[in-house]
Structure formats: C-alpha cells, structure tokens
Symmetry: C2
C-alpha cells in the first residue's frame, strides 16, 4: 500500500519500549504466572491460538453495523460450540472461565452470547428446575436450543420482585400475559433473533391467588422456522454502544400465551393435579435467603470484567506513553521526552495499573471461596454457618462489583484522556472498550443499589455484641478497637489498613447514630435507610470492599509468592494501590478525627507521589505481565512492539476513497462562485 | 404500527412531571430569559423552528455508518449556507453564536463542519493574513471554497511549535514537505473529502535558515474534480466515536508540493523579492504573546460545549427520574415512588444541574469581557493594560476549559448511570452525547497541559509585591490576607468564597516552597514545573477557575436579577454549586489547616445534603429553563411530556425483522439435535 503513495520516509526512531522493559527488577513471566496461575495462563493462550487460526475471528478497525455485528457474533459463537471445549460451565469450570475471560478481552458481545445461553439461562433452569427438566437441560448443554433470560421489564429493573408479567394456572396449563407496556420483558440478550427458549420471571396466580415471583422455562419460537409461537411477540431494542450492538437484547410481550405446566421451574414449589399451589418454603424471604449466595455468581464474573477493562486500559495508555514524545528540558524535537516521563502522566495511570493487579488477586481468592461455598450448597448442606457464608458472599460481591466496575470505567476514561487525540480514534480501542464495559455498572444490580445490600448486612452485624466470625474473615475489624493515627511505620500497607479499620468503625457509628435521630423524628425504616446513604452507608460499603481487597492481596503477597523479586515489586504495587484508595477518603478520615492537623494528609499525599515514582522502572514490565495478546488487545496504540506511528499510518492509508456526494459539493461551490460574480 | 401487534394495553399512569413542575416557586420562562438573555432565546428558537421544517434535519434513532454520517452532514451544512444567516462570524456575532449553540445541541458533527470552515480556518486567514489575501477571504465568506486547519501532526499534538512539516522558499515559490510519518498532518476536520484549501503550520526555511513556526494558506484540491494537487496526498483517519464519525478528520502528506509565495500568511513577516526573510517581531515569544488572548476564542467556545453537555445530561436524567418508579415504603407496585425522590439520586444529579446554570452565567460574562478585549485588539491598541488583559484571559480560559469540559463529561456519565439500563440504549442519547463531548477534553489544548498555563501565570503573579489589579478582577484574592475558618454565617456562598481564598493562598505558597526545595536540590526549571503539578499547581488552577465561577455568578445574582423568585432560586442554585465544588477540596482544606477537627467537614457535608434537599421542588422547573427543544434533545427518556415508556415502546416496535443468518442457526441447532440422538 505504501508504494501507492510514493512516500519516501525518513526512518522513524526505534521504539523505546524495550529500553523501558529492561529497567524492571523482576521477570514479567514469573510475575504473570504468580498472579494468574500458570495453568490458567496456558489454557488462555491455547484458546487465543485457536482464535488466531480461524478466519471468522479476524477483524479490522471498521465499525460494524448492527446487522453485521450480530451476524459475525452468531458465526463466532457457532465456531466456539464446534470446538466443544466444555460440557457445561460447571463440569469444566477452568476451561469455561478461561474461554469467557479471553472472549471478554476480545469482544464482550461474543462473550455475552455464549455466557447468556450456557450460564445465565442454563444455570437458572438447572438451579430452579427439577428432574422434570432433564430433557431441556440436555438440549441446553448440547446447543440444540438457544436460551434467553427474561427478568427485567420495561418499567421494572431494580425492583424485580414487583415484575408485572402474570402467569395464571388454568386447567393443567399456564397462561402468560403482559398486562401493560411497562410489563413487557426487555434487556434479554440472545432474544431478538436467536432464542428458541426463555427463562421468564412472573407473578404466579393459582386459584385466584397471587403466589408471588416464580421462574418458568418457555419455548418461544419454532426451532426450524424461527416463527414465534402464538401469543408471543418479540422484537429488538435497537442500537447500543460498543460491542453490545452485537448482542440481541430483545423485548417480549405475552398475550394469553399457553404453555404446559412443566414450564414452571418447580424446585421447592409445585401445582398439584387438583390445581393447588404447594411450597416447601415457609416464606418468600426464606426462599430468597437460600438463593442469596448463589446469585452472586454473576457479580463475581462482573468483578472480572472490571479488572480486565483496567488491565487493557493500562496496557494501551502506558505503552503509548512510552512511544509519544512531547516537550523536553531543551527546545528542539530531538530533545523531546516520552510523556511516560511526566510525573502527572504517571499519577494519572499508575494507580489503575496497580489497582488492576490487586483486584485480580482479590478476584481469584474470592472465586476460590465461592467455589467452596457452592460445593457445599450442591451437596445439600443446610447449616447456620453456610447461611452466614451466603450472607458474607452477598455482602462482599455487592460491594466489590461496584468498586471493580467503576475502576474499569475510570481506568478506560483516564487512559483515553491520557492518550490525547489519538486516544479518541477508533484505532485506539479505548472508547469501544469503555462502551463495552459501561453496562457492567448497571447489570446484576445497579451499583448504587447493591451497595445498600452491603451496608445493610454490616449495620445489622454491628448491632450484635458477640464476637464476629465469618467464613471469609472479611469482618474481623469488628473485633478490634479502632486506633487513632500513631505515626507512620516502615510498613505502609499496615498503616493504611489501620486507617481503614478506623474509617469502618467511624462510618458504622455515624450511620447508626444518624439513623437513630431520624427514627426518633418519626421517619419509617424505608426513609431512614434512604436518608443515611450519602456520605455514610454508601461510603461504608465501598470502604469495606477496598479494605478486603487490600487485606487479601497482603495475605497473598506474604503467603503465596515465592519469587523474591516478584514479591518485592508486588509489595510496591500494593503499597501504591492502598495509598491511592485511602487518599480518596482523606476528607472522611479528617472528619472521623483519625488525626488532626495538616501534616498527616500532606504526608499521605507525599507518600502516594513517591510510591508512584518508585514504580517508574517497573511499570512497563508490569504491563507486559497483565497485557493480553496483541490479537486480543486490538489497539494500534497498545501493541507490544511499540511501533505506534507506523501502525497508525498503515491504517490511515486504507481510507482514501472519495464519496459520491463530492459532485454535489463541487456544484454548490461553483454556484456560489458564479453568483458572487453577478 | 401498534395495531400490527394487536396489543391491548392497560392505560399507563399519567406522567407525574406536571405535578413536579407545579412545585416550583418561580416561573421557568423568566428564569430562562434571565440566564440566557431574552433575545438570545428568541434567536435560537427561530433557528430551531427552521430546522424542524426542513426534511434534511429530520432524524430517527438508527446509528448511521461513517459514510452516511458524512453525507448527511454535507447536506445539512449546505442547507445552513443557503439560509444565509450570517455574513461572517464576526460581523453577525449573535446570529453566528446562536446558530452554533443550537447545532452543538443537535449534532456536534454538524456544528464542527460549519465552525471549522467559517471560524477556525477563516479566522486564521483573516487574523494572520493581510490585504494580499482579500480574494481568498471573499471566497471563504461566500462558501466558494471549503477550508481545513492543519496544525497537529501524527507525532505532534501538544508541542505545536515543534511541528516538523517544512516549507522552503525557492525562487519565488514555497515547497512543502512532510519529512517523515510523524510529520504528516492529521486531525484536520473537513479535510478528508471536502476541503479545497487548508491553513497549514510549518517550519519556514529561507536561504538555508529555519525562521520557525509560520502559517500558510494552500489550495489542496481542484474545486471541480476534487482531485488533489501534485505533491499532496490526503486520506481519512477512520472511525471515531459519536457525532465525530460525521466529521472528516483527515491526514495530509506533502511531497515537494509547490505553491506561490502568496500562501504565506504574512502579518508581521514576509519574504522580499530578493529572497530575504523579514519580520516586525523582535522574537518568537513576542509574536506569541500578541496572539495569546486572541487564541482563547476556541477555549471560550469549548466552555460552552461543556455547559451544553451538562444541561442536556441534567434534562434527560431528571425528567426520566420522575417517570421511573422503583420500590416504596410499602410493598406493591402501586406504592412505588419515582426514583427522583431518593436522596441518593438527587445527590448524584442536582449538583450537575446547578453547575450547568452557574457555568452558563460565568460563560456569558467571560464572553462579554472577551468581546471587549477583541474590539480593542482589532482597533490596534497596544498597551500594558491590554497585555495584562490578554494574560488574564489566557489564564482563565486555560483553567475554565478543563473545568467545564470535565463537568460536561462527568454529568453525562453520571446521568447515564443514574438512568439505569435504559440509559445505555441509543434511544437515551446519553452515550452518544458523551462521545460527542469527549474530545473537548483534548482539543484546543489537552486539559492537564493547559492547566499549567493558568498556574504558571498565577505563580508568576505571586512573586510580585505590588497590589494586583487585573481587568477582569479574577486575581483580587492576592490583595486579601487569607483568613482561617471563623464559623458558618447565614451567607453560605460568602463562607465558601472565604475558604476558596484560603485554598488559593495555601496552594500558591505550597507550590512555591516545594519548587524552591527542588531548585536547591539541583533540578532544572522544566523538572521543577513537572514535579510540582500533582496535588499543588494542578489544584491551584482548578480552584482559581471555580473561585471565579462562584464570584461571577454571585455578582450576577446580586446585580443583574430583577425577578425576586428567580433571585431566590438562583441563590439556592449557587449555594449548592459552591458547596459541591468546595467539598471536593475538603481534604486539601484540612491539609491547609483552614480549620482542624471533624466538625467542619461534617457540617460542610450536612450543608451540602440539605442544600440538595432544598432544591427538590425547584429541580424540574429548573430543568425546563435549561432544556433544549425536544427536537434538539432527541432523547426518549428526556422529552418534555414525560411519556417515557410509550416512547420507548413505540421505538421498540420498529425492530422486528429477522436476519437472514437465522436459517444457518436453525440448521446448526438441528444438526446438534440429530447428532445427540446417535
């Protein structure tokens, strides 16, 4: 292509990235294997290599139309099914998770198509159905059907218990209805075109009585003609940003659709042959509490999305910062220094780099705990300790999912800005990634709403006078008196944790005492909860989650890292992360009277700045240890060889076609020039 | 369309928005006219009405391809030219600004096409050219040519003085060259397809000597065939987010392109007939200082973009918050309350509503000052006072542009999240608006970089022992001793301003003293400046800008508002805004030892919360007073009638076509079911 332009180019300066790599004190591969686990790294690379070899996974930088996005997403999903990498998400859990992780880096839309059928739809049938549903479960695992998950309605997202879709038992059959516009199901991925079946949640009416919120599995289309069945109307929700353009989020309206009784997902409930509703749960809240922990699986997955987003953002922005030179101590283009050298650029980017590493460690630990918990649930254990485990998982996932998804989006936004103008090009992939990760902040519980779940559990615990012991030990702070600032030690991480413990106690006390005042003034429980969120319960949930991330990363650092160099650099990473998050709560620390006087805050900020500076020589090697394969990253600015400008210009040269309307423009200019002569 | 689905719908509840409107204590039209100016409101509405009547301005919610975006942008630009609303941007300044403001709300891409030719390209020729360029200026104003502005190069954005494009004088002609890939011009809007002419900046070489950075106006294409001229290659930069997809940001490479000497924009310099370079400027820095203030025009415009973005975000999110009901004190869908009622939702959205109002007032005031300044420049005044004016405009525009553009993007991001899932639909327009406003943070000076300009000027001023008097009086704080916290008065706005003044003094002192330490340790000026940005000079620039916004809004409130109700509500608005921005600096306030002890911060946050609460009954009417016409807003969630769900579903019904690849899916499912039977 280059010759076409007959451009004689002076040789560009060789990329500096290898020079920066050599500054590191550790081996990036050892670091990578330590953080991710060597087997997991190999598993992921095998999948990447399979993708690289398949034509259907090749891509360029053209923005696809909605129609094109969906067609290619279907083709890629089919190819993945043909690879037959797993039987179901739970029997081949490592393989499945490696696959989803790779796909999420590659294209969230492709990941969603797979995950929504195999895990969200499939898991709902498997966990809420019974042996009565063996046939459909076999078809799900065998990809003989395509499933969608219909919970949200046009006017009901957060308050799912109040969905308005109705299912009425009628003489051995179930009649499905959407009573008004607001009750139409929506946001169901895979639904618009592909789904043959859906899991749908609705109010179950039996013998004139509303028995409440229940799940059903319903066939919606003929699997040969793909015509919708009688009483069912399905359509698409239209365009969405980024890779979600490729996800068929559909809407579904029921008009007296009749389905056999087998549609009821009948774990713990049923309708007898003589038309009576029976249940083994004593109450709706008992039913809910059993599922509380298991429902966290989605949130755990989304924590991973936030981490992946932040890793990709750091990779693109930091590699480009090494390539891009602007200004220098002396005038002249030859004296310009990489923007990576600027303290402000480091300040903007290094914290997110370290956050992504600490949160990956946290996420893996959390997943281990969760897997242990799920094993016990599946084995049928019913103990107080397991119920406690369930609540703790719920509290932590409801806090960490917002923290992780905000992190992901913040990282991408800051990376985009720190890359200047070229960050805004589609070639950078930064804007697309931000769009791709944006809905994570909303789905599986809107972030602000689920943060209330965390604080509710912590505030309830705070009323107990007994020693607090929880399976994951995230609430140990309750058993230790908060200690005011005693001066900085050599162990900054422990200093930060001491401040975090103080904040936790302060916010619990403050939220509780403000709630008491409101109660005394006659407010009801709903009002009291709503009026103690801002600056209090909300911050409590965030701080609890960050505290756990720091504690778990510290445990990992101390107990699970063998390589001495990796240990040292990981300590730097965690030190920076913990100072970064604590600094965000500096005002609250002062309000809590952890200490008084300007010195503490001044020192905290100085420590943060010097901690950032101490990572300068390590940053590019750290990026290598978290960066996905160039094929997955798909960014002109972030490729591992650092040859940014050559890549940009190679892409630019693909766009030289003049559009047809140029004739119209030429005529318009001509007309204007003629009329000016008159 | 509805009948096609045969859907019987229960009547939706009537929208609540009118109920909320009635709660306000003031008349929204009076408020609008007070803030915007009645004539300006009328001028804008006339343009909106013209657009509504033209087929070419009609649009739906389909995402256009790159090609479609550009074609429609051309057609709309042509229509606007045919309306003949202004002769040039400066002779019809009110008309031009009303037009640009309307277009920016409608589509940033359409606005850019107009603005880049008429103002950015045109103003460069007019301000840097001489009578020698009368012919081309006539053609610009008459739309006989299309112009683009070529400053940025592939490897040079911020450090424009070091652009590498060369222009060599040769025997009465100029030879243009791009010596390497990094020197190729890029990011020039209108260039890819439409431009017939460009203004280009390059290093001018005369008789073997580099005379430095100069501007040139060059023809690049034949206006009939649109073929590029010899030695010129032009292409497109490819896809970009949002409305910028429709802007032809192009790249341009010169290979020994020859142009006549008239191409040189020769104000203050020239090449004589015998090939000698002459200039009336004593130095490059003198040349630069003359243009410092005038260069602010772009930044002033961008402040407006940030304000408009924040206004649209507030409109969409707050109107939808009234329509969307979730949860309530008692179970049952009929007891659900609008999410607008939640203190957390108010906390997330009201501050941006108030910020957009205060910043609009600030922006108008700034523009008045700027116009006065420009008149004096054009009249040829050369005084110390005018030079001082120039520097102050430069300082303030370099600080306020980042503050305003961050505000715009934050508002849109928070609005998107506060609208839950539907905020992510293209129908909401929130994501598109965020993409549209994103580059404002980069162009006309990357935000972090230009903030240095502000602090550089303030720090230089701080070294002076004389009383500091500046034309816009933004630096009055220098003449008043900072006073520590004395307790809260009834005048919260003044309390906040007192704290701001303290912060300004603290940050100047801190930045200066840290710079001294670094200097003594042997660092050069470049290093010292870079190493005192984080937590110091950077914050100084932001705080100086916010302080001016609060002061000017306060002056407006006290001196220019006649209607008593408007005055009262505007006081509430400014109180909230000033508490909101001050709270963000709470940690720095503590570090500065403005006061000690937790009480101050606790009270500040309590004041912020009660200030938010006090705006609850006014918020929807305030939205009406800043909302653009529904036709411009183009958001299903933000329309003025509040009928959100009907509009959503009406749009949903447009998407029911099944794609062709469904046959392939059916075959795949069938094959899987056959093989499972084997």
């Amino acid at each position: 292509m280059t010759t076409h332009y007959n451009i004689k180019m002076r040789k560009m300066t060789a990329p500096l990235i290898d020079k920066y790599r050599k500054l590191a004190s550790f081996d990036w591969r050892t670091f990578k294997n330590t953080i991710e686990g060597e087997e997991h790294v190999i598993l992921k690379q095998k999948i990447v290599d399979k993708m690289k070899a398949e034509p259907v996974f090749q891509r360029d930088f053209r923005v696809l139309s909605l129609e094109e996005s969906r067609e290619i997403s279907h083709k890629r999903w089919k190819k993945i099914c043909e690879w037959n990498l797993f039987k179901d998400p739970y029997s081949d859990v490592d393989q499945f998770h490696a696959l989803v992780e790779v796909l999420e880096g590659y294209d969230q839309g492709n990941a969603a198509r797979l995950f929504l059928h195999a895990n969200v739809f499939g898991a709902a049938v498997k966990s809420q159905g019974t042996e009565r549903h063996a046939e459909i479960i076999k078809k799900i695992d065998n990809n003989e059907v395509v499933g969608a998950f219909c919970l949200t309605e046009i006017s009901h997202g957060s308050n799912t218990a109040e969905v308005q879709t109705t299912v009425t038992y009628d003489n051995g059959e179930l009649i499905f209805n959407s009573p008004n516009i607001g009750a139409i199901k929506c946001w169901a991925g895979n639904l618009s075109h592909s789904a043959t079946h859906v899991v749908v949640f609705a109010q179950l009416h039996v013998a004139g009585k509303n028995e409440g919120f229940h799940g059903f599995v319903v066939q919606v289309r003929d699997p040969i003609t793909f015509q919708t069945l009688p009483g069912i109307t399905i359509g698409d929700m239209g365009s969405k940003p980024g890779a979600w353009q490729g996800v068929e989020n559909g809407w579904l309206k029921f008009d007296n659709h009749r389905a056999p009784l087998i549609a009821l997902l009948n774990k713990g409930c049923d309708i007898t042959k003589d038309g009576k509703y029976v249940t083994s749960f004593k109450s709706a809240s008992e039913k809910q509490s059993v599922s509380l922990g298991t429902l966290s699986v989605g949130r755990l997955g989304i924590i991973g999305k936030g981490v992946t987003a932040s890793m990709m953002a750091s990779t693109i922005a930091l590699r480009y910062s090494v390539a891009r030179r602007q200004f220098g101590p002396i005038k002249g283009v030859e004296n310009e220094i990489p923007v990576f050298e600027y303290p402000l650029q480091q300040f903007r980017l290094f914290p997110y780099l370290t956050a992504s590493i600490c949160m990956r460690i946290f996420q893996k630990k959390f997943f281990e705990h969760f897997t242990g918990y799920m094993m016990r649930v599946i084995q049928g254990e019913k103990s107080d300790e397991l119920a406690k485990f369930s609540r703790e998982i719920h509290a932590l996932s409801s806090g960490a999912k917002p923290v992780a998804t905000w992190l992901g989006n913040e990282s991408l936004a800051e990376a985009r800005k720190a890359c200047g103008g070229h960050g805004f090009l589609h070639l950078s992939r930064l804007n697309t990634l931000r769009d791709d990760n944006d809905p994570s902040m909303t789905f599986e519980g809107e972030n602000f709403m689920i943060l209330q779940q965390t604080s509710n559990i912590l505030l309830a615990k705070s009323k107990s006078s007994a020693k607090i012991l929880t399976p994951m030990r995230t609430m140990e702070f309750f058993n230790h008196q908060p200690i005011k600032f005693q001066g900085w030690t050599n162990d900054t991480i422990s200093d930060v944790l001491q401040a975090y413990r103080f904040l936790l106690h302060h916010l619990i006390q403050k939220t509780n005492s403000d709630a008491e005042i409101l109660k005394k003034s006659g407010k009801n429980a709903f009002e009291v909860r709503n009026e103690t969120q801002v600056h209090r319960a909300l911050n409590l949930s965030i701080i609890y989650s960050e505290n756990t991330i720091i504690e778990w990363t510290k445990e990992f650092l101390e107990n699970e890292v063998e390589d001495r160099n990796v240990k040292e650099v990981l300590r730097k990473v965690l030190t920076l992360y913990s100072l970064f998050v604590l600094e965000r709560h500096l005002a609250t620390l002062y309000i809590s009277e952890y200490t008084t006087g300007g010195q503490f805050g001044d020192q905290l900020r100085e420590k943060l700045r010097s901690s950032i500076f101490s990572l300068k020589n390590e940053a590019i090697a750290l990026v290598d240890s978290i960066a996905p394969d160039d094929f997955i990253l798909h960014s002109v600015l972030g490729a591992s060889d650092g040859r940014v400008y050559e890549r940009i210009f190679a892409e630019f040269q693909k766009n030289t076609k003049q559009p047809e309307w140029i004739c119209d423009l030429a005529q318009f200019l001509h007309k204007n020039s003629q009329s000016s002569k008159l």
